[in-house]
Amino acid sequence: MSEAREVEPCPIEPDEIVVVRRGPGANCSSIGSVLDVLFLSALVGGAILVGVAAAFGRDAEPREGEPEKPGGDDAGPG
Protein backbone atom coordinates (compact mmCIF):
# COMPACT_ATOMS: atom_id res chain seq x y z
CA MET A 1 0.00 0.00 0.00
CA SER A 2 1.37 3.41 -0.90
CA GLU A 3 1.88 6.22 1.55
CA ALA A 4 0.41 8.56 -1.05
CA ARG A 5 -2.76 8.26 -3.07
CA GLU A 6 -4.84 10.09 -5.62
CA VAL A 7 -7.44 12.53 -4.31
CA GLU A 8 -10.07 14.63 -5.97
CA PRO A 9 -9.63 18.41 -6.31
CA CYS A 10 -11.36 20.36 -3.59
CA PRO A 11 -11.63 24.11 -3.05
CA ILE A 12 -9.35 25.55 -0.39
CA GLU A 13 -8.60 29.01 0.97
CA PRO A 14 -5.18 30.66 0.75
CA ASP A 15 -4.88 30.56 4.54
CA GLU A 16 -5.20 26.78 4.43
CA ILE A 17 -1.89 26.66 2.56
CA VAL A 18 0.97 25.91 4.95
CA VAL A 19 3.74 25.74 2.33
CA VAL A 20 4.15 25.92 -1.44
CA ARG A 21 7.04 24.39 -3.32
CA ARG A 22 7.22 25.40 -6.94
CA GLY A 23 9.05 23.35 -9.43
CA PRO A 24 9.48 20.72 -10.46
CA GLY A 25 13.09 21.64 -11.06
CA ALA A 26 15.39 18.93 -12.24
CA ASN A 27 18.55 18.07 -10.41
CA CYS A 28 19.76 14.57 -9.70
CA SER A 29 22.23 15.55 -6.98
CA SER A 30 20.77 18.17 -4.67
CA ILE A 31 17.28 19.52 -4.04
CA GLY A 32 16.48 22.95 -5.43
CA SER A 33 14.03 25.71 -4.55
CA VAL A 34 12.72 28.76 -6.38
CA LEU A 35 13.89 31.95 -4.69
CA ASP A 36 11.99 34.84 -6.23
CA VAL A 37 9.72 35.57 -3.28
CA LEU A 38 12.74 36.50 -1.19
CA PHE A 39 13.49 39.42 -3.46
CA LEU A 40 10.14 40.58 -4.80
CA SER A 41 7.35 42.44 -3.05
CA ALA A 42 4.99 40.79 -0.60
CA LEU A 43 2.27 41.17 -3.21
CA VAL A 44 4.00 38.56 -5.32
CA GLY A 45 3.94 36.04 -2.51
CA GLY A 46 0.31 36.73 -1.81
CA ALA A 47 -0.57 36.36 -5.47
CA ILE A 48 1.19 33.01 -5.59
CA LEU A 49 -0.84 31.71 -2.66
CA VAL A 50 -4.11 32.94 -4.17
CA GLY A 51 -3.21 31.34 -7.48
CA VAL A 52 -2.31 28.04 -5.86
CA ALA A 53 -5.53 28.01 -3.85
CA ALA A 54 -7.47 28.67 -7.03
CA ALA A 55 -5.81 25.68 -8.66
CA PHE A 56 -7.48 23.42 -6.09
CA GLY A 57 -10.95 24.40 -7.23
CA ARG A 58 -13.39 27.29 -7.11
CA ASP A 59 -15.49 28.84 -4.35
CA ALA A 60 -14.36 27.11 -1.20
CA GLU A 61 -17.13 25.55 0.86
CA PRO A 62 -17.74 27.21 4.24
CA ARG A 63 -15.49 25.54 6.76
CA GLU A 64 -16.77 23.98 9.99
CA GLY A 65 -14.83 24.56 13.20
CA GLU A 66 -12.11 22.00 13.82
CA PRO A 67 -11.03 20.75 17.28
CA GLU A 68 -7.37 21.14 18.33
CA LYS A 69 -5.17 18.22 17.33
CA PRO A 70 -1.55 17.37 18.21
CA GLY A 71 0.75 18.97 15.64
CA GLY A 72 -2.47 20.74 14.59
CA ASP A 73 -3.24 23.06 11.77
CA ASP A 74 -0.83 25.75 12.95
CA ALA A 75 2.21 23.51 12.80
CA GLY A 76 4.31 23.52 9.66
CA PRO A 77 6.00 20.65 7.91
CA GLY A 78 8.87 20.90 10.39
Binding site: C10, V19, G25, N27, S30
Partner: protein, 401 residues
Protein backbone atom coordinates in the same frame (compact mmCIF):
# COMPACT_ATOMS: atom_id res chain seq x y z
CA UNK B 1 -3.86 15.10 -7.34
CA UNK B 2 -1.48 12.96 -5.33
CA UNK B 3 -1.63 13.47 -1.57
CA UNK B 4 0.17 12.21 1.50
CA UNK B 5 -0.94 12.75 5.09
CA UNK B 6 1.41 14.59 7.42
CA UNK B 7 1.07 15.91 11.00
CA UNK B 8 0.31 19.42 9.70
CA UNK B 9 -2.28 18.13 7.23
CA UNK B 10 -1.07 16.81 3.92
CA UNK B 11 1.30 17.31 1.04
CA UNK B 12 -0.65 17.61 -2.21
CA UNK B 13 0.82 17.68 -5.70
CA UNK B 14 -1.55 19.71 -7.81
CA UNK B 15 0.47 19.56 -11.02
CA UNK B 16 3.97 18.74 -12.16
CA UNK B 17 5.27 22.00 -10.90
CA UNK B 18 3.55 22.58 -7.58
CA UNK B 19 3.70 20.74 -4.28
CA UNK B 20 1.51 22.22 -1.57
CA UNK B 21 1.27 21.61 2.16
CA UNK B 22 -2.32 22.11 3.32
CA UNK B 23 -3.93 22.12 6.74
CA UNK B 24 -5.67 19.15 8.31
CA UNK B 25 -9.04 20.73 7.61
CA UNK B 26 -8.32 21.12 3.91
CA UNK B 27 -6.80 17.64 3.74
CA UNK B 28 -9.84 16.12 5.41
CA UNK B 29 -12.14 17.69 2.81
CA UNK B 30 -10.04 16.04 0.11
CA UNK B 31 -10.60 12.69 1.70
CA UNK B 32 -7.17 12.40 3.33
CA UNK B 33 -7.21 10.66 6.71
CA UNK B 34 -4.17 11.47 8.83
CA UNK B 35 -5.10 8.85 11.46
CA UNK B 36 -2.54 8.85 14.28
CA UNK B 37 -0.46 11.55 12.57
CA UNK B 38 -3.30 13.92 13.44
CA UNK B 39 -4.25 12.48 16.82
CA UNK B 40 -1.08 11.16 18.48
CA UNK B 41 1.67 13.60 19.42
CA UNK B 42 4.37 10.91 19.55
CA UNK B 43 3.50 9.65 16.10
CA UNK B 44 3.42 13.21 14.79
CA UNK B 45 6.85 14.04 16.20
CA UNK B 46 8.36 10.85 14.83
CA UNK B 47 6.90 11.61 11.43
CA UNK B 48 8.24 15.17 11.46
CA UNK B 49 11.67 13.89 12.44
CA UNK B 50 11.90 11.22 9.74
CA UNK B 51 9.25 11.87 7.11
CA UNK B 52 9.44 9.87 3.87
CA UNK B 53 11.21 11.79 1.12
CA UNK B 54 9.38 14.22 -1.11
CA UNK B 55 12.01 13.67 -3.78
CA UNK B 56 14.31 10.76 -4.56
CA UNK B 57 17.36 11.01 -6.75
CA UNK B 58 17.63 7.82 -8.74
CA UNK B 59 20.94 7.00 -10.36
CA UNK B 60 19.93 5.16 -13.53
CA UNK B 61 23.49 4.55 -14.67
CA UNK B 62 27.09 5.03 -13.61
CA UNK B 63 28.12 5.08 -17.25
CA UNK B 64 29.39 8.25 -18.91
CA UNK B 65 32.06 8.86 -21.49
CA UNK B 66 32.46 12.59 -20.93
CA UNK B 67 34.92 12.53 -18.04
CA UNK B 68 33.97 15.75 -16.21
CA UNK B 69 36.69 16.47 -13.69
CA UNK B 70 34.27 17.16 -10.84
CA UNK B 71 31.89 14.25 -11.34
CA UNK B 72 30.39 13.49 -7.95
CA UNK B 73 29.54 9.92 -8.93
CA UNK B 74 32.95 9.23 -10.56
CA UNK B 75 31.13 7.96 -13.66
CA UNK B 76 33.12 5.99 -16.22
CA UNK B 77 32.56 4.73 -19.77
CA UNK B 78 32.14 1.19 -18.43
CA UNK B 79 30.14 2.10 -15.35
CA UNK B 80 27.26 -0.06 -14.15
CA UNK B 81 23.84 0.38 -15.69
CA UNK B 82 21.05 -1.53 -13.93
CA UNK B 83 18.59 -3.45 -16.04
CA UNK B 84 15.29 -1.82 -16.93
CA UNK B 85 13.37 -4.21 -14.69
CA UNK B 86 15.60 -3.39 -11.72
CA UNK B 87 14.98 0.33 -12.13
CA UNK B 88 11.30 -0.27 -12.67
CA UNK B 89 11.13 -2.10 -9.34
CA UNK B 90 13.00 0.74 -7.66
CA UNK B 91 10.56 3.25 -9.11
CA UNK B 92 7.66 1.22 -7.73
CA UNK B 93 9.20 1.22 -4.26
CA UNK B 94 9.94 4.95 -4.42
CA UNK B 95 6.31 5.56 -5.31
CA UNK B 96 5.05 3.27 -2.55
CA UNK B 97 7.08 5.30 -0.05
CA UNK B 98 4.89 8.29 -0.88
CA UNK B 99 7.49 10.21 -2.88
CA UNK B 100 6.28 12.82 -5.32
CA UNK B 101 9.26 13.54 -7.55
CA UNK B 102 11.96 11.25 -8.89
CA UNK B 103 15.03 12.88 -10.41
CA UNK B 104 16.94 10.64 -12.80
CA UNK B 105 20.69 11.06 -12.87
CA UNK B 106 23.90 9.20 -13.39
CA UNK B 107 26.42 8.99 -15.07
CA UNK B 108 24.81 10.23 -18.23
CA UNK B 109 21.15 9.18 -18.32
CA UNK B 110 21.01 9.70 -22.11
CA UNK B 111 23.37 6.75 -22.42
CA UNK B 112 20.31 4.60 -21.70
CA UNK B 113 18.19 4.03 -24.82
CA UNK B 114 15.25 3.19 -22.53
CA UNK B 115 15.35 6.48 -20.65
CA UNK B 116 12.03 7.68 -22.04
CA UNK B 117 10.34 4.37 -21.16
CA UNK B 118 11.62 4.62 -17.61
CA UNK B 119 10.04 8.05 -17.34
CA UNK B 120 6.76 6.59 -18.58
CA UNK B 121 6.91 3.92 -15.89
CA UNK B 122 7.57 6.57 -13.28
CA UNK B 123 4.43 8.39 -14.46
CA UNK B 124 2.45 5.18 -14.31
CA UNK B 125 3.47 4.78 -10.67
CA UNK B 126 2.22 8.29 -9.90
CA UNK B 127 5.62 9.96 -9.76
CA UNK B 128 6.75 13.19 -11.43
CA UNK B 129 9.96 12.29 -13.28
CA UNK B 130 12.67 14.82 -14.08
CA UNK B 131 16.20 14.29 -15.40
CA UNK B 132 19.58 15.95 -15.56
CA UNK B 133 21.81 15.48 -18.58
CA UNK B 134 25.00 16.86 -20.04
CA UNK B 135 23.10 16.94 -23.32
CA UNK B 136 25.74 14.89 -25.06
CA UNK B 137 23.95 12.42 -27.30
CA UNK B 138 20.80 14.54 -27.55
CA UNK B 139 19.07 14.56 -30.92
CA UNK B 140 15.62 15.69 -31.96
CA UNK B 141 14.43 12.09 -31.80
CA UNK B 142 15.89 11.56 -28.33
CA UNK B 143 14.33 14.80 -27.17
CA UNK B 144 10.92 13.62 -28.45
CA UNK B 145 11.36 10.38 -26.53
CA UNK B 146 11.66 12.33 -23.27
CA UNK B 147 8.11 13.67 -23.39
CA UNK B 148 7.14 11.90 -20.16
CA UNK B 149 9.59 13.98 -18.16
CA UNK B 150 8.15 17.03 -16.42
CA UNK B 151 11.44 18.80 -17.01
CA UNK B 152 14.89 18.09 -18.41
CA UNK B 153 17.76 20.12 -17.01
CA UNK B 154 20.95 20.41 -19.02
CA UNK B 155 24.20 20.99 -17.20
CA UNK B 156 25.58 24.31 -18.41
CA UNK B 157 28.19 26.06 -16.31
CA UNK B 158 28.82 28.82 -18.80
CA UNK B 159 29.59 29.58 -22.39
CA UNK B 160 32.69 28.21 -24.08
CA UNK B 161 35.74 28.36 -21.86
CA UNK B 162 33.68 28.87 -18.71
CA UNK B 163 32.10 25.44 -19.13
CA UNK B 164 35.52 23.91 -19.69
CA UNK B 165 36.90 25.70 -16.64
CA UNK B 166 34.36 23.95 -14.42
CA UNK B 167 34.16 20.53 -16.03
CA UNK B 168 37.47 20.15 -17.79
CA UNK B 169 35.75 19.31 -21.05
CA UNK B 170 34.50 21.47 -23.88
CA UNK B 171 30.82 20.64 -23.58
CA UNK B 172 29.11 24.02 -23.90
CA UNK B 173 28.18 23.63 -27.56
CA UNK B 174 26.75 20.14 -26.97
CA UNK B 175 24.72 21.48 -24.08
CA UNK B 176 23.40 24.34 -26.21
CA UNK B 177 22.49 21.96 -29.04
CA UNK B 178 20.67 19.78 -26.53
CA UNK B 179 18.68 22.74 -25.29
CA UNK B 180 17.84 23.64 -28.85
CA UNK B 181 16.55 20.10 -29.50
CA UNK B 182 14.45 20.19 -26.35
CA UNK B 183 13.03 23.57 -27.28
CA UNK B 184 12.13 22.44 -30.79
CA UNK B 185 10.35 19.38 -29.43
CA UNK B 186 8.47 21.35 -26.80
CA UNK B 187 10.11 19.57 -23.86
CA UNK B 188 10.27 21.82 -20.76
CA UNK B 189 13.89 22.34 -19.83
CA UNK B 190 16.17 24.25 -17.56
CA UNK B 191 19.87 24.65 -17.01
CA UNK B 192 21.95 23.57 -14.04
CA UNK B 193 24.80 25.98 -13.39
CA UNK B 194 27.51 25.07 -10.90
CA UNK B 195 28.92 28.14 -9.20
CA UNK B 196 32.70 28.22 -8.97
CA UNK B 197 35.33 30.79 -8.15
CA UNK B 198 36.67 31.04 -11.74
CA UNK B 199 33.25 31.52 -13.33
CA UNK B 200 31.22 33.42 -10.73
CA UNK B 201 31.97 36.80 -12.30
CA UNK B 202 30.22 35.69 -15.49
CA UNK B 203 27.17 34.17 -13.81
CA UNK B 204 24.88 36.92 -15.00
CA UNK B 205 26.05 36.43 -18.59
CA UNK B 206 25.48 32.69 -18.24
CA UNK B 207 21.92 33.20 -17.02
CA UNK B 208 21.29 35.60 -19.91
CA UNK B 209 22.46 32.95 -22.34
CA UNK B 210 20.33 30.26 -20.67
CA UNK B 211 17.30 32.51 -21.02
CA UNK B 212 18.09 33.18 -24.69
CA UNK B 213 18.22 29.44 -25.30
CA UNK B 214 14.65 29.08 -24.03
CA UNK B 215 15.17 27.52 -20.61
CA UNK B 216 12.39 27.97 -18.09
CA UNK B 217 14.81 28.11 -15.18
CA UNK B 218 18.42 28.48 -14.18
CA UNK B 219 19.25 26.30 -11.20
CA UNK B 220 22.36 27.40 -9.35
CA UNK B 221 24.35 24.68 -7.64
CA UNK B 222 27.08 24.92 -5.09
CA UNK B 223 30.28 23.14 -6.04
CA UNK B 224 30.67 20.22 -3.67
CA UNK B 225 33.60 18.01 -2.69
CA UNK B 226 32.35 14.58 -3.73
CA UNK B 227 33.54 11.94 -6.14
CA UNK B 228 36.19 13.35 -8.46
CA UNK B 229 35.72 16.79 -6.89
CA UNK B 230 36.81 15.50 -3.50
CA UNK B 231 40.40 16.57 -3.84
CA UNK B 232 42.57 19.61 -3.08
CA UNK B 233 41.24 21.44 -6.15
CA UNK B 234 37.98 21.90 -4.22
CA UNK B 235 39.55 24.80 -2.36
CA UNK B 236 40.38 26.57 -5.63
CA UNK B 237 37.00 25.86 -7.19
CA UNK B 238 34.65 26.76 -4.34
CA UNK B 239 33.36 30.31 -4.10
CA UNK B 240 35.70 32.72 -2.36
CA UNK B 241 34.41 34.43 0.81
CA UNK B 242 33.87 37.74 -0.99
CA UNK B 243 31.87 35.93 -3.69
CA UNK B 244 29.73 34.28 -1.01
CA UNK B 245 29.19 37.67 0.56
CA UNK B 246 28.06 39.01 -2.83
CA UNK B 247 25.68 36.14 -3.45
CA UNK B 248 22.51 37.65 -1.97
CA UNK B 249 22.84 40.82 -4.03
CA UNK B 250 23.70 38.79 -7.14
CA UNK B 251 20.59 36.65 -6.78
CA UNK B 252 18.51 39.77 -6.18
CA UNK B 253 19.71 41.20 -9.50
CA UNK B 254 19.14 37.93 -11.33
CA UNK B 255 15.59 37.53 -10.05
CA UNK B 256 14.68 41.10 -10.99
CA UNK B 257 16.40 41.04 -14.37
CA UNK B 258 15.12 37.75 -15.74
CA UNK B 259 11.77 36.24 -16.48
CA UNK B 260 12.98 32.70 -16.04
CA UNK B 261 12.89 31.15 -12.59
CA UNK B 262 16.04 31.31 -10.52
CA UNK B 263 16.41 28.24 -8.37
CA UNK B 264 19.14 27.44 -5.88
CA UNK B 265 20.11 24.09 -4.49
CA UNK B 266 19.95 23.12 -0.84
CA UNK B 267 23.65 23.72 -0.25
CA UNK B 268 23.31 27.33 -1.37
CA UNK B 269 20.92 28.33 1.41
CA UNK B 270 23.52 28.72 4.18
CA UNK B 271 25.55 30.96 1.88
CA UNK B 272 22.70 33.48 2.02
CA UNK B 273 22.83 33.84 5.79
CA UNK B 274 24.66 37.14 5.50
CA UNK B 275 21.73 38.72 3.66
CA UNK B 276 18.33 39.95 4.91
CA UNK B 277 16.59 36.63 4.37
CA UNK B 278 13.09 36.32 5.84
CA UNK B 279 12.86 32.91 7.52
CA UNK B 280 9.06 32.94 7.33
CA UNK B 281 9.21 33.35 3.56
CA UNK B 282 11.70 30.50 3.35
CA UNK B 283 9.33 28.26 5.26
CA UNK B 284 6.13 29.39 3.51
CA UNK B 285 7.58 28.94 0.04
CA UNK B 286 9.32 25.67 0.70
CA UNK B 287 12.89 26.86 0.25
CA UNK B 288 14.88 23.89 1.48
CA UNK B 289 18.30 23.62 2.99
CA UNK B 290 19.83 20.27 3.88
CA UNK B 291 17.08 17.70 3.69
CA UNK B 292 19.42 14.74 3.34
CA UNK B 293 17.77 11.68 4.79
CA UNK B 294 14.52 13.55 5.28
CA UNK B 295 12.70 15.24 2.40
CA UNK B 296 15.48 14.02 0.09
CA UNK B 297 16.99 10.57 -0.51
CA UNK B 298 19.28 9.12 -3.12
CA UNK B 299 19.00 5.62 -4.54
CA UNK B 300 22.37 4.62 -5.91
CA UNK B 301 23.22 2.44 -8.86
CA UNK B 302 24.03 -0.41 -6.47
CA UNK B 303 20.58 -0.12 -4.93
CA UNK B 304 21.61 1.33 -1.61
CA UNK B 305 19.97 4.35 -0.06
CA UNK B 306 22.03 7.42 0.71
CA UNK B 307 20.93 10.62 2.46
CA UNK B 308 21.72 12.52 -0.76
CA UNK B 309 23.69 11.88 -3.93
CA UNK B 310 26.88 13.30 -2.42
CA UNK B 311 26.65 11.41 0.87
CA UNK B 312 27.92 7.95 1.76
CA UNK B 313 25.49 5.07 1.45
CA UNK B 314 23.51 3.79 4.39
CA UNK B 315 23.22 0.10 5.16
CA UNK B 316 19.77 0.11 3.63
CA UNK B 317 18.77 -1.32 0.33
CA UNK B 318 16.05 0.54 -1.54
CA UNK B 319 14.04 -2.65 -1.45
CA UNK B 320 13.72 -2.54 2.32
CA UNK B 321 14.00 1.08 3.34
CA UNK B 322 10.28 1.81 3.27
CA UNK B 323 8.84 -1.57 4.21
CA UNK B 324 7.37 -2.32 7.63
CA UNK B 325 6.22 1.22 8.33
CA UNK B 326 9.49 2.62 6.88
CA UNK B 327 11.30 1.24 9.90
CA UNK B 328 14.64 1.07 8.07
CA UNK B 329 14.32 4.61 6.76
CA UNK B 330 13.49 5.92 10.22
CA UNK B 331 16.18 4.05 12.15
CA UNK B 332 19.22 3.63 9.92
CA UNK B 333 22.17 5.26 11.76
CA UNK B 334 23.63 6.96 8.68
CA UNK B 335 20.31 8.54 7.77
CA UNK B 336 19.73 9.50 11.40
CA UNK B 337 23.07 11.28 11.56
CA UNK B 338 22.50 13.23 8.37
CA UNK B 339 18.94 14.33 9.11
CA UNK B 340 19.58 15.61 12.64
CA UNK B 341 18.68 19.25 13.24
CA UNK B 342 21.71 21.27 14.37
CA UNK B 343 21.85 21.85 18.11
CA UNK B 344 25.04 23.83 18.49
CA UNK B 345 25.97 27.43 17.85
CA UNK B 346 26.01 29.40 15.70
CA UNK B 347 23.24 27.31 14.14
CA UNK B 348 21.12 26.95 17.27
CA UNK B 349 20.27 30.64 17.47
CA UNK B 350 20.23 31.25 13.71
CA UNK B 351 16.85 32.48 12.41
CA UNK B 352 17.35 30.36 9.27
CA UNK B 353 17.97 27.16 11.22
CA UNK B 354 14.66 25.46 10.53
CA UNK B 355 15.16 25.73 6.78
CA UNK B 356 18.96 25.64 6.47
CA UNK B 357 19.38 22.81 9.00
CA UNK B 358 23.08 23.39 9.52
CA UNK B 359 24.12 23.83 5.91
CA UNK B 360 25.86 21.36 3.65
CA UNK B 361 27.10 18.33 5.55
CA UNK B 362 29.08 17.17 2.52
CA UNK B 363 31.18 20.32 2.71
CA UNK B 364 31.44 20.14 6.50
CA UNK B 365 32.54 16.51 6.37
CA UNK B 366 35.17 17.27 3.75
CA UNK B 367 36.65 20.26 5.57
CA UNK B 368 36.17 19.21 9.19
CA UNK B 369 35.66 15.43 9.06
CA UNK B 370 32.65 15.95 11.30
CA UNK B 371 29.06 17.09 11.30
CA UNK B 372 29.80 20.69 12.05
CA UNK B 373 28.06 23.88 11.03
CA UNK B 374 28.76 24.57 7.39
CA UNK B 375 32.19 26.23 7.51
CA UNK B 376 31.50 28.32 4.41
CA UNK B 377 28.33 29.87 5.84
CA UNK B 378 28.99 33.60 6.41
CA UNK B 379 27.42 33.45 9.86
CA UNK B 380 29.61 30.50 10.86
CA UNK B 381 32.68 32.17 9.39
CA UNK B 382 32.06 35.35 11.38
CA UNK B 383 31.36 33.43 14.58
CA UNK B 384 34.56 31.44 14.28
CA UNK B 385 36.60 34.55 13.62
CA UNK B 386 35.10 36.12 16.72
CA UNK B 387 35.69 33.05 18.88
CA UNK B 388 38.36 30.87 17.29
CA UNK B 389 38.38 27.26 18.42
CA UNK B 390 35.20 27.61 20.46
CA UNK B 391 32.46 27.01 17.94
CA UNK B 392 31.41 24.18 15.77
CA UNK B 393 33.42 21.50 17.48
CA UNK B 394 31.79 18.13 17.58
CA UNK B 395 28.48 17.01 16.28
CA UNK B 396 25.70 19.12 14.91
CA UNK B 397 23.23 16.96 16.73
CA UNK B 398 20.91 18.14 19.45
CA UNK B 399 22.33 17.56 22.89
CA UNK B 400 18.95 16.37 24.03
CA UNK B 401 15.30 16.71 23.14
Amino acid sequence: MRARAEPFGAWVRIDDGTLVGVTQAAARRMGVDGADLWTDRVAAEERTRAAPPLEVHLAVTARCGVGCKGCYLDAKPDGDAPAFEVLEDRLARIAAAGTFTVAFGGGEPLSRPDLGRLAERARAFGLTPVVTTSGIGMTRARARSLAAFAQVNVSYDGEGLDYAAVRGVDGASSAERAMQCLREQGIPFGANVVLTRPTFARLEATVCRVEELGAREAQLLRYKPAGRAKDPTYLAMRLAPDQVDALYATLDRLVRAHRIAIRVDCAMLPLLSGGPVDPELLARFGVLGCEAGRHLAALRVDGRIAPCSFAPASDLDGGEAWDDGARGWRRDPTLEAWRALPGIEPCRSCPLRASCRGGCRVVAQHLSHAFEPDPECPRVRRARLARPGQLGEGSLREDSE
